[in-house]
Symmetry: C2
Subunit: 151 residues, 2 copies
Amino acid sequence: MTDPLFPPPSDKKELESSTAFTPRFDKDGLITAIVTDYDSGELLMVAHMNDEALAKTIATGSSYFWSRSRQELWHKGATSGTRQNVHEIRTDCDQDAIWLKVTVAGAGATCHTGMKACFYRTVELKDGKTRLVRDRIDPLFDSSDIYGNKT
Amino acid sequence: MTDPLFPPPSDKKELESSTAFTPRFDKDGLITAIVTDYDSGELLMVAHMNDEALAKTIATGSSYFWSRSRQELWHKGATSGTRQNVHEIRTDCDQDAIWLKVTVAGAGATCHTGMKACFYRTVELKDGKTRLVRDRIDPLFDSSDIYGNKT
């Protein structure tokens, strides 16, 4: 199926070395998007984009994703005010992942829980069992104030 | 279906706030894995893990993934020598992504193309058209020396 917004992926060699941007969406029409902080480099979130979300992100310089849980286009920060200003977009060798370097507006929190980043817990192994250990950092906003019962 | 290696995900609130590590594999049994350089923080690669890859990574401290193209467990660096020593593992709010902070052995290249990282091209928009612009950095190894015709 030809994507209306992006040209189709070519062969492996072309994908890796050419100057043609031919993103590879998966069978659900999605591509993985990694978001890092432009200044600190910190990993903020991982989400997914469909072709429309990717095209709108490129055209507007503000991050759009596809919400798999809500099955709708998602302008990041539209509700919470924490929009992402996109400074740079990269893709990987086989063009099946997108990397956005952003600055975050509003309260500066990327995660819907109010945390600055979504990765606020480490996985630790002790006595053969895994557990999560939470960073000793407070949320930047109270998610119930922003989303009510929607989260 | 109960996963034999990890406990099943619980409800949204538990996923976000508890200390139980209950990774959410997708319908293909995979979870997204983000790999960054432990020292510099640079984004090196994005890949996928099945439950076995994740369990082996946690148990051994060396990165394992699931190769979707080869449909097999993939000990990163087993062929090229560029194994990943895992310093820290994190997960995100809804436990459907894994973040590994690693140091890379051997030639220090993470990408099979020989580049240090897979994200060696930016997406640029000019006159309404996108194109890729490659970093002016040389590969750390010649991939044909390592993989022959396998890449």
